[in-house]
Structures are given as structure tokens and as C-alpha cells.
């Protein structure tokens, strides 16, 4: 690695650059995971969001405000979940000898979950796990309902679909609470890209190649987690 401002080819690390490196590290992973699993979020939240968007008064401005509110509340749900899973994860002591086994095993489980997701999308469980429509049913209204957008966003934000759990397990294993929160924030950005087409009402459905690319990304990420999990376990077996 080479610092751009430095003409020497040797690495030049400071505490700040180390912090930025590690931030970029899990942010990149979370973003990729979000982008890859976004369609499942769409499948899970779409049935709730789409009818609700359709009954909102027309106009790009109204729809943008509503979607922003929805996404903001969804982010709040994500961050709350990240804090909860990290607290649970940090209960495991760092010096515990089984930590490598847990880490390797978790990576393999993540790989399995992503494979299942990629093979069986949209998984029926995702549709069921979405917030029930009656809870947030708003009805045909001539005025935009802000509380409705926020409620919908928050409830879909804490729904336990497989990609969400995958991200949750990763966040639980991170070293600090801010890292877990940043991880979920980037995961949120990745998944939210898939919601933008709601503004023009389901462009995604007209371009199935996007969904196929997302599924391929999930398979490739699953391979990555699989190999890195297997390597962790192999090292544990070989070196103890």
C-alpha cells in the first residue's frame, strides 16, 4: 500500500490513517452486503411500501418526502438493532479460546445464509416476516401522512429477514459500538439504493438483470465468507 502524497513506496501509517483504513474496511463490506441483499429488502418491504406509496397524493416532491421519512425511520430501526446485537456480541470475552471457532463457524453460516438467499429469492419467509400491512394501513388519503411513513420505515427496519440477520451477526463481532453502528449505516445505504426506484414506481421489476446481478453478488460474497471461514477454521486446526 502506498500513500498518494508520499513519493516513497513504503507504507506510511498514522493513528488517524489506521482508523480511516479500518472504517473503510467494514464500510466497504457492509455496502457490498447491502447492495447484494437489497432485492430481498425490496421483496420484504415492497408489498407494504408500494400500495402505501400509490395512495399518497401524486407528485415527485411528496413521494420524495415520504420516501425520505420512511428511509430515515428505517435507519433508526437498523441502528437500534445494531446496538442490541453488538451489546449481545460484546458479552463474549475476547480472550475466550473458542472465539476463532465461533468466528470461523459464523462466517460459514453467513456463507450458507447468502447461498440460500441467492438460490431461493424471494424467500417466502421474507414476505411473511415483513411488517403486517394492517398495522400500518393508512388508507386512501388526500394528504400525505408523515406518521405513516415513519411507522412503516421503523417496522420494516427491524424486520428479521436473512440478509438483516447476516449483517447483524457481523456487527455483533465488531470491536466497538460505533463500528457496529457505522456497519449498519453502510448496510442501510446499500439496501436503500434499491428503494430509489419507488420514486418512479418499480423500475427494478422492468430490469430483471439488476436482480440477477444482485443474486450473483450474493453468491460471490457467500464464496468469500465461505473461504475466509474455512481458512480461519483450518488455521485453528493446524496451529491450535
Amino acid at each position: 500500500m502506498t500513500t498518494v502524497t508520499d513519493n516513497s513506496s513504503l507504507p506510511h501509517y498514522t493513528a488517524r490513517s489506521m482508523a480511516i483504513h479500518s472504517l473503510s474496511a467494514f464500510a466497504g463490506e457492509a455496502l457490498a452486503l447491502g447492495l447484494a441483499t437489497g432485492p430481498v429488502c425490496l421483496a420484504s418491504c415492497g408489498p407494504v411500501v408500494l400500495p402505501w406509496m400509490l395512495v399518497q397524493p401524486r407528485g415527485l416532491r411528496t413521494h420524495s418526502t415520504q420516501l425520505s421519512l420512511f428511509l430515515a425511520a428505517r435507519l433508526a430501526g437498523y441502528l437500534l438493532f445494531a446496538a442490541a446485537v453488538w451489546t449481545a456480541g460484546s458479552a463474549i470475552p475476547h480472550a475466550w479460546v473458542g472465539r476463532s471457532w465461533l468466528l470461523g463457524g459464523t462466517q460459514l453460516l453467513l456463507a450458507g445464509a447468502l447461498f440460500v438467499y441467492a438460490a431461493g429469492f424471494p424467500h417466502p419467509r421474507c414476505a411473511r416476516s415483513a411488517s403486517a400491512a394492517p398495522l400500518v394501513h393508512i388508507g386512501d388519503s388526500p394528504h400525505p401522512r408523515r406518521s405513516g411513513a415513519a411507522t412503516l420505515g421503523f417496522l420494516t427496519g427491524i424486520n428479521l429477514c436473512p440478509p438483516f440477520l447476516v449483517a447483524g451477526v457481523r456487527a455483533a463481532l465488531l470491536a466497538t459500538l460505533p463500528s457496529a453502528l457505522i456497519y449498519f449505516a453502510f448496510f442501510f445505504i446499500g439496501t436503500s439504493v434499491w428503494f430509489a426506484p419507488f420514486l418512479s414506481l418499480s423500475v427494478v421489476r422492468r430490469t430483471p438483470s439488476l436482480v440477477t446481478v444482485a443474486r450473483m453478488v450474493a453468491v460471490l460474497l457467500a464464496c468469500w465468507y465461505g473461504v475466509s471461514g474455512a481458512l480461519i477454521l483450518m488455521e485453528k486446526v493446524v496451529y491450535g
Binding site: 502506498t2 500513500t3 498518494v4 513506496s9 483504513h21 440477477t212 446481478v213 450473483m216
Partner: protein
């Protein structure tokens, strides 16, 4: 229609020798200009290598102009580039280091020549952390002239001129599979490839997303470390652990499958079409490039011959019906040369489709061939010089 047809020079009608020579003259001068410094050198191997390349590139351009055929002559250059690059590269590595593998300490000291494949992986880390995640030196050094700054500058210039045509006039890897794809007369596997092509074509995009995100995540060029098939014929990290052994295994399997066996069986450039994330990245630049291939719907009879010929599956029935190629067209010219209705044509964006296709082809070729001579030509000259240097040694080794 009649007047339009008469204005079109039939691509397979030979130009006169005089006119062809005249049109080749600028390219001959460009080649001379490019290689003048090498010709002036006192080293005989460099002078001979450069002289051969000037003659080779100028002759191929002349043949493209005279015959109206692009694909066949371009392929001669491209396959030569694909096979001579590793020969020159490996010989130099063995002469300098005695091995193709790079020890970790040399990698850390920035002794790795920069490869353009890594470009998309550099963007996010460079933007957010001002770090280039490649173990090469930024500025040229005496031991490594192929520094990051030089190679990115070259890539940028070529991309602006060529767009995705980089993949058929610039890339020093694509020629290897194009060579293997040219061996058989007919494809052994065709239907399966056709059937799965719409999905397979999306793999490079998925790989691009994954390698860019994971490279940013882990601050290392993931593609180079785990997935590049061409490590097999260039430079790889020394195998010293289970992890590096797995990496080496992946390189070899990918190279054998995607670059040798599948191109041989399918007559397609399978690695370029269905794997290379850098190719997907280059496709984005096709949008800003003024040249493209179009299908003149008034002449097309939907025989799909062009689709069958295309080495990267950049045509589908739907795209032909729309009169366009897909985004991954690398402007190799195979479809144009194969269409016997003159419906597949070179096109300058903003003009009417089929109006002056030969003019558009020549305009494109001047830019593309100039770049090919500058970049690929110097690689060829370098490889030839290395081979000439090593010939006596190999000869004496054989005699012993």
C-alpha cells in the same frame, strides 16, 4: 435508398494500392515517430525488435485499409500481443529474479509492475483514504518503469480514445484467448453458451461490484490476489502457505478453463465476456466514446450471423432488432466483416446509421491503431528484444 447505397463503399471491395498506401502513410509516420528513440539505441536487439514492429503494424494497417476487413488483421496483432507479452515478461523475470514468483519483501518494496486491471479497485480507497492499494511505486523507478502514474495515464488516454475497444486493441491478455478461440474451425459447444449467455454476461458486473467493495473493505486488490487468471502466465506471490497455495490453484484453474479450454471449444473469448470485471468497467466508457457498431434495420434480414460470429456475445436477437450492440461491444469488427448484407456497420454517433460506415471505420481505426502501436507495439518490441537477447543462450543450452 439507391443514392445512399451508392455512397457506401462496400467493405469487401478492395481499395486501389495507391489509395491504400496513401491512407496508410500517416500511420507509418506515427509508427516511425513512436519508435525513433528505440531505433537510435545502440542495442541491436532493441533496434531489430522495433524495426519488426514498425513493419508489422504498418503492414496490418495497410491490409485493413486495402481489404476493408478489420477483424482478421486486428486479430493478428492482438494474438501476437497476447502471446509475446508473457514470453517477454517471464523471460525478463527469470533473467532478473530466477523465478516467476515475487517474494513478499520485493512486493512490499514496490517492485511490482502496475497492471491496469487493478484500476477500478483503486478508486474508493484512493478517494476516502488517499491510499493506492497496490504494492507498486507511484512514480517510475530505474527497476520499475511501469509505475502506477504512468500506467493510469496511459490507460486513461487509451480509454478516452477507444472506450471498450481497449479490450480488442489494448489489453495484453485478451489475445491469448482470442488465439485459442481461433484454433478450431467450428465451435464444439454453441447451444449451451447461447442459452446461458444472457445470464453469463452479467457475471463481470457482479464481480466488479464485489471486487471493488471487498478491495475497499480489506485495503488490498482482491482480484489480483484471488481471481486473476493471468497470474498463471505473469507474476504471482511466492507460495509459502495454504492460503497462497489455494490462490495459485484458483489462478491455474481459471486460466485453464476460461482462457484455454472454453475459448477453444466455444470460439468465444469466454474470460472477457463472462468473467473480467475490468471489461465491465470499460463498458461504462463505451457510453462516452463517439464510435459504435450499429445494425442498419433497412438492410438487416435477421439471419443472426453477426450474433454467432461475435466473440464476446455482445449481440442478442433483441439488440439486433433494436439496431444496436449490447454495452459490452469491444469494436473488434467481426460482426461487420461477417454480415453479407452490409447491415452491420461502423457508426459515428450523431450521424445517420449506414450513411458513411467506411469513413466511420477509418476514423476509428486511425485512433485505435495509433494507440495500439504506441502501447501494444512497444510491448511487442520489448518482448521481441528480450527474445532476441535470449536466443543465443537458449541455442547454447540446446547444443549442450
Amino acid at each position: 435508398m439507391a443514392s445512399r447505397s451508392s455512397a457506401v463503399l462496400h467493405p469487401r471491395v478492395f481499395r486501389s494500392v495507391g489509395r491504400s498506401l496513401l491512407l496508410t502513410l500517416p500511420m507509418a509516420l506515427w509508427s516511425l515517430l513512436m519508435f525513433t528513440p528505440s531505433l537510435r539505441q545502440s542495442r541491436r536487439d532493441v533496434t531489430i525488435g522495433s524495426a519488426i514492429v514498425i513493419a508489422f503494424m504498418t503492414t496490418l494497417f495497410y491490409l485493413m485499409v486495402r481489404t476493408g476487413n478489420t477483424y482478421r488483421w486486428r486479430r493478428c496483432f492482438f494474438v501476437a500481443l497476447g502471446f509475446l507479452f508473457p514470453i517477454g515478461f517471464i523471460s525478463a523475470l527469470i533473467a532478473v529474479r530466477g523465478t516467476m514468483s515475487i517474494p513478499i519483501e520485493r512486493m512490499v518494496s514496490g517492485d511490482t509492475p502496475f497492471c491496469f486491471m487493478v484500476t477500478p479497485m483503486l478508486v474508493i480507497p484512493a478517494a476516502f483514504t488517499r491510499t493506492i492499494i497496490f504494492p507498486g511505486s507511484i512514480l517510475p523507478t530505474s527497476s520499475n518503469p511501469h509505475s502506477i502514474a504512468v500506467m493510469i495515464g496511459l490507460w486513461l488516454a487509451m480509454t478516452l480514445v477507444l472506450g471498450k475497444a481497449w479490450c480488442s486493441y489494448g489489453c495484453f491478455f485478451g489475445g491469448i484467448e482470442e488465439g485459442f478461440a481461433a484454433v478450431r474451425k467450428r465451435a464444439k459447444i454453441r447451444r449451451t453458451v447461447d442459452k446461458f449467455a444472457p445470464r453469463l454476461r452479467l457475471i463481470p458486473w457482479a464481480l466488479l461490484i464485489v471486487v471493488v467493495a471487498l478491495s475497499a473493505a480489506l485495503m488490498e486488490p482482491i482480484y489480483c490476489m484471488w481471481l486473476c487468471p493471468f497470474k498463471t502466465v505473469t507474476e504471482y506471490p511466492a507460495v509459502h502457505s495454504v492460503e497462497t497455495a489455494i490462490q495459485m490453484g484458483i489462478f491455474i484453474v481459471l486460466f485453464a478453463g476460461l482462457v484455454v479450454v472454453l475459448p477453444y471449444l466455444t470460439k468465444k473469448r469466454t474470460q472477457c465476456a463472462f468473467f473480467c470485471p475490468f471489461g465491465a468497467f470499460q463498458s461504462i466508457f463505451n457510453k462516452i466514446n463517439p464510435f459504435e457498431i450499429r445494425i442498419d434495420r433497412e438492410k438487416c434480414v435477421d439471419c443472426t450471423l453477426c450474433q454467432t460470429t461475435c466473440p464476446t456475445m455482445a449481440l442478442s436477437k433483441e439488440s439486433i432488432r433494436e439496431g444496436k450492440t449490447l454495452m459490452n461491444c469491444m469494436k473488434c469488427g467481426a460482426c461487420v466483416d461477417s454480415c453479407n448484407k452490409d447491415a452491420a456497420v461502423w457508426h459515428l454517433k450523431g450521424t445517420r446509421v449506414g450513411l458513411h460506415p467506411e469513413r466511420a471505420r477509418l476514423l476509428f481505426l486511425y485512433g485505435a491503431w495509433a494507440m495500439a502501436t504506441m502501447f501494444g507495439g512497444s510491448i511487442l518490441a520489448n518482448s521481441l528484444a528480450t527474445m532476441i537477447r535470449f536466443l543465443p543462450k537458449i541455442h547454447s543450452m540446446l547444443l549442450k
